[in-house]
């Protein structure tokens, strides 16, 4: 029995209305706080509706023609409402709402016109993300995929007068565009083979085994490339750490809980199709696990608190993708949801810290627990969740992921993920110990954040705990090996212990560890040269080649044209000599011509 579609449409529509209002009515937008209220109000309504949709377990599908063609529309837009989308609706609206409220305090010092711009973008983002999760087909998903990418570009570059921010925004767009190229090629190929973009039609065809098209692995691989870009999998992960140039609430929303999860969502949503190409799934699992490990190593040597969290996000996205690749899409999705909560929490808490202390560098902080105890507590809650400590939400989802990967007999990925778990606990507690405990170096007077910022923090912390308890209470997951639970707890504890020994107790000197792991340390600090590689390719290959082409076009292709023109001019100059102006020369010409005519006439006889 299909549910009415107007309620999900309402969820989608509210931020859209807010965006249009703010975009078009300039005085409203320029008024700063009034714009914020419009946006937050719309989000509140959307969240309430999303809750209702989720609790009511709506199921519906509806589409309208979008691009017409002779034999029926080529592309449609619409809504696909099911438990998967409903969960995302709640996550997106909740985190959006909390972030927008938080931003009111975090960006309180901005000019009203800039603040208005910020909330316009926020509304657009919320609309785009919701459109993505409600998409009934690949094309609509791609449309909103690109739109969230746009919002990411706009929000990372919010403080565009800073060159680093402007560069980061553009880099994010380009790197994800590389993935999107694979995505669009993939869906074009898929459409060409099947004649449709719609998920339900494709799934039905898959079920009836009518989808045995040649090159399906290639097609699904290309589509997966989109997820590689958007969800920051290796090697398209490089944009995420730089994206931290944007305001912290933006990082919390887009680069932790929602946009980056779009890739995971897509793979989960289209799981029936991926299930038909196990080779690609294996690749996804391996790349996911490798990404997780790689990012975790880079987080261990980062001094910028936001960058640590960024690498952590990349790492956890790797977890999610590995689960999806192992056929445990449910586990991956669960991790997506829990991670959304506690990573947003961590980012917002880090934002409170940055707001109070004025720097991102953890080595310029210290002893903050005393100055900002509430922030410290919630940060600790987030850390424990991320490290996978029961009964917090992160433990259950991480265990589900590990279990799923083990069940699929992917030993290599499993080992990588296990090592990552250890590193995760390590680098998070490293931050906790350095920033929150130990001697206080922080300049200024670090104080507790205002209530507009603390409120969302406490809410998220509470949710992390509550969701964890709910998950613990739910029926146990069948068939996970019994030794998995103690293993994951043990790894977390080992990481904690290592961090404690190195940074709290001083028992092991971090500098000596760095020398022992010399080459690894060197590489990790330089992001394994991947960023440098991209920069080199960009400057050398693309810009260099473009300069060559520009030169050829102006001086060779156009040069040939100018040569023709110059030759014509020269020819004209030369022929001018015939017109000497002297009557005698003309007579000469006539006489000569006559002679030729007579000779020719004679010859022609």
């Amino acid at each position: 029995m299909l549910s009415p579609v107007w309620l999900p449409l309402f969820v989608l529509g509210m931020p859209f209305v807010a965006f249009v209002l703010l975009a078009v009515v300039a005085p409203l937008r320029r008024a700063g706080s009034r714009a914020a209220l419009v946006s937050i109000g719309a989000m509140l309504l959307a969240f309430a509706a999303a809750l209702a949709v989720w609790r009511g377990a709506f199921v519906a599908e509806t589409t309208w023609a979008w691009i017409p063609a002779d034999g029926g529309p080529i592309a449609t837009v619409g809504l696909l409402v099911d438990p998967l989308s409903n969960a995302m609706l709640v996550l997106v609206t909740l985190v959006s709402l909390l972030v927008q409220i938080y931003s009111l305090a975090y960006l309180g010092d901005e000019r009203p016109a800039s603040l208005g711009r910020y909330y316009t973008y926020q509304s657009l983002f919320a609309f785009s993300m919701l459109g993505l999760v409600l998409a009934p087909g690949f094309l609509q998903m791609f449309v909103f995929w690109e739109l969230v990418g746009l919002c990411s570009y706009l929000l990372i570059g919010y403080w565009y007068e800073r060159p680093a921010a402007a560069r980061a925004a553009v880099k994010a767009f380009w790197i994800t565009k590389l993935g999107d190229i694979g995505f669009i090629i993939g869906i074009v190929l898929l459409w060409s083979a099947t004649g449709t973009f719609e998920f339900t039609e494709l799934f039905d065809k898959a079920q009836e085994h009518a989808l045995a098209i040649k090159g399906l692995p290639t097609i699904m691989f290309l589509i997966y490339l989109g997820a590689v870009g958007k969800s920051a999998q290796f090697p398209l992960h490089v944009w995420l750490p730089d994206a931290m140039e944007g305001p912290t609430p933006v990082s919390a929303l887009i680069h932790a809980a929602t946009m980056v999860t779009a890739g995971v969502f897509m793979v989960t949503r289209t799981e029936p199709l991926f299930a038909m190409v196990p080779e690609v799934l294996t690749l996804i699992a391996w790349v996911g696990a490798f990404t997780a490990l790689l990012a975790a190593t880079m987080a261990c040597v980062e001094d910028d608190i936001k960058r640590v969290l960024a690498y952590s996000t990349i790492s956890q996205l790797g977890y999610m993708m590995a689960a999806a690749g192992a056929g445990a899409a449910y586990a991956g999705f669960l991790h997506l949801l829990t991670h959304g909560l506690f990573k947003a929490l961590l980012f917002l808490a880090a934002g409170a810290v940055i707001h109070a202390v004025g720097t991102n560098d953890i080595f310029r902080m210290g002893g903050l627990f005393r100055a900002m105890p509430q922030t410290g507590v919630v940060f600790l809650v987030g850390t424990l969740a991320l490290a996978g400590v029961p009964p917090l939400a992160g433990f259950f989802s991480k265990e589900a992921v590990l279990g799923g990967v083990w069940e699929a007999h992917f030993t290599g990925p499993f080992l990588m993920l296990a090592a990552t778990a250890l590193l995760t606990a390590f680098y998070m507690f490293r931050v906790v110990f350095i920033a929150f405990f130990g001697r206080a170096h922080a300049g200024g007077h670090p104080h507790e954040a205002p209530w507009l910022m603390r409120g969302p923090l406490w809410l998220l912390a509470a949710l992390t705990v509550l969701v964890g308890i709910r998950l613990g209470g739910a029926e146990g997951h069948d068939a996970t090996p019994a030794w998995l639970v103690p293993l994951s707890i043990g790894l977390a504890f080992a990481g904690f212990a290592l961090a404690w020994a190195m940074y709290q107790r001083g028992a092991i000197d971090p500098a000596r560890v760095a020398t022992v792991l010399g080459p690894l340390d060197y590489l990790a600090r330089r992001r394994y040269g991947i960023d440098a590689l991209y920069a080199g390719l960009y400057r050398g290959l693309i810009l260099g080649f473009s300069r060559l082409i520009g030169w050829i076009d102006r001086y060779i292709v156009d040069g040939v044209l100018n040569v023709l023109s110059a030759l014509t001019l020269r020819g004209g100059q030369a022929l001018r000599g015939i017109q000497s102006g002297r009557a005698q020369d003309y007579v000469y010409g006539v006489a000569f011509g006559m002679l030729l005519l007579i000779v020719w006439a004679q010859l022609w006889r």
């Binding site: 060159p163 380009w174 190229i181 074009v188 060409s192 080649f545 001086y555």
Partner: protein
């Protein structure tokens, strides 16, 4: 089934000739009254625009063939008559022309020097453009084509702006001798190059005329004639080269960057926005419409050159330091998508091609309007000197960004639908590999567009410019209209595709794949 019902009100003729009447009025009554000049221009182009929207709305989408038909015999012994009609494709192009010329009239509001001649020439030019799109008699079409080209020489030569090009390379001597960089050079080059192309077109038209019995120049009669295959091939080639020069195919595109860069704002808007589409329209209407087998045989050439256009244009654009040149090469690149879509000989591809003609026309009109405004405020076109304009001119910056996003094919803008359809068509065509350069072009466009936007608008403020201001008064009209159209057609593409499809389906049905 071709319906040739004579329309009660000669809408197409009014649309075509209203600007010309405006030009005459300006020259004879408003010679020394600048305000009257502008108002006459605005009113006459407004009449054309209003009518073109009206006929667009009243177009019957269920019937193929030409509607709003009119015919007046001119020279019966030779078969020349004034015959006009519109189908989905021409209708969209007429709408595009109206939008761009109205925006252009407002964008030129501040022309000081000899504004009456400027507007008069501009209006005469627009008449030529409308005429080409609605003409069904090839002889008259050619006349309108020449009318659309010749005023360019004066418009660029008198009201244009000169730049500087330092001669380099093995042909440097030629650069010095021909005076590269000045507006006179650009004017001469553009006009001569386009007239050179028109020679090929004339040859093609005459060849068809003679072969069909030298009885009539009517498109409808030619459409009903089956020309021999060999003739079709070389006449298609003649049309392709002739119209292609106007469309900016590689390597016959070099008139375009110099011409657009040196031309005044409204002229660039009209030229890059509409006239280049006229070239593509010619290839589709006359090349593909009259010579189906020739088109099928030579589609490989059209598509391959189009791929070169896309990638080459994008790379060239990336290397430019003069803002107008960036936009000009961007046009070369996007015209590649237009030609590619047509070359695929598929439904989505051809629809995408026509839609891209429209989308890119609006986009590039917007770009040139913005560049004109930036130049007016900052008195410079050098990107290297600019920076941080987003703070002082947010309206212009936002409009530029929207245009740029459409250019790189962001969904919710018209550019996306055009490119998507082209991609779908490319993979469905005989030469599937065309998909890849097209997609690569999208990526390269993203690179150069965002790079330029960052350099000029979204970055730290430049120290060389002070007291810059945003768009004012009538300048806003152009920007708002164009941005609105881009977003509208991006969100509701059916508005354009439905009528276009009515025309492209029968056109493609006649083309037999080799």
């Amino acid at each position: 089934m071709i319906r040739q019902v004579l329309s009660l009100v000669p809408e197409l003729s009014i649309i075509t000739w209203a600007p010309f009447v405006g030009a005459l009025l300006i020259m004879f009554t408003a010679r020394h009254r600048p305000r009257a000049v502008r108002w006459i221009a605005a009113v006459t182009t407004g009449i054309s625009a209003a009518l073109s929207i009206r006929i667009y709305a009243t177009y019957d989408q269920d019937v193929a063939g030409f509607q709003f038909y009119e015919k007046i015999p001119l020279v019966p012994p030779l078969g020349i008559s004034y015959e006009v009609g519109a189908d989905g494709i021409s209708l969209l192009m007429v709408l595009l022309t109206s939008i761009i010329i109205v925006a252009g009239v407002f964008a030129s509001w501040t022309v000081q020097v000899r504004s009456q001649e400027f507007y008069a020439l501009l209006l005469a030019l627009v008449t030529g453009v409308y005429g080409v799109f609605v003409s069904l008699d090839l002889f008259v079409l050619f006349l309108f084509y020449e009318l659309a080209v010749l005023p360019m020489y004066l418009l660029i030569g008198i009201w244009g702006s000169s730049g500087e090009v330092r001669p380099r390379g093995i042909f440097a001597w030629a650069f010095r001798e021909t005076g590269v960089g000045t507006k006179e050079y650009a004017a001469m080059k553009l006009t001569l190059y386009l007239l050179f192309g028109s020679a090929f077109i004339l040859v093609g038209i005459l060849a068809l005329y003679v072969n069909a019995g030298a009885a009539s120049f009517s498109f409808l009669d030619f459409e009903a004639t089956a020309f021999p295959r060999a003739l079709q091939r070389w006449v298609f080639l003649a049309f392709y080269v002739g119209f292609g020069i106007l469309a900016g195919i590689w390597p016959l595109h070099t008139w375009s960057p110099d011409g657009h860069a040196s031309a005044p704002t409204a002229v660039s808007m009209l030229h890059a926005g509409v006239l280049m589409k006229l070239g593509a329209y010619g290839v589709v209407r006359m090349g593909m419409g009259l010579l189906p087998e020739g088109a099928a045989d030579l589609a490989w050439l059209v598509g391959t050159v189009a791929c070169v256009n896309i990638v080459y244009g994008a790379l060239s654009s990336m290397a430019q330091t003069d803002l107008k040149y960036v936009i000009a090469y961007s046009s070369v690149s996007h015209m590649g998508i237009v030609m590619l879509g047509a070359a695929t000989l598929t439904g989505p591809g051809l629809n995408g091609s026509v839609f891209q003609m429209f989308a890119h026309g609006v986009m590039t009109g917007l770009f040139f309007a913005l560049v004109g405004l930036v130049y007016e405020k900052a008195h410079s076109r050098d990107i290297g000197k600019m920076g941080g304009f987003g703070k002082t001119m947010p309206g212009i910056a936002t409009a530029f960004t929207v245009g740029g996003l459409s250019s790189l094919g962001l969904p919710a803008t018209a550019g996306f639908v055009a490119e998507l359809l082209t991609f779908l068509g490319a993979w469905r065509s005989v030469h599937r590999w065309w998909l890849f350069p097209a997609v690569a072009g999208t990526f390269l466009t993203a690179v150069y567009v965002l790079r330029v936007a960052k350099q000029i608008f979204w970055g730290p403020p430049s120290s060389q410019f002070h007291d810059l201001e945003d768009a004012r008064g009538p300048e806003w009209v152009a920007l708002v209209v164009l941005v609105f159209v881009l977003v509208l057609f991006g969100m509701v593409p059916g508005l354009a595709i439905a009528p276009v499809d009515t025309a492209t389906v029968p056109l493609l049905a006649r083309i037999v794949s080799p």
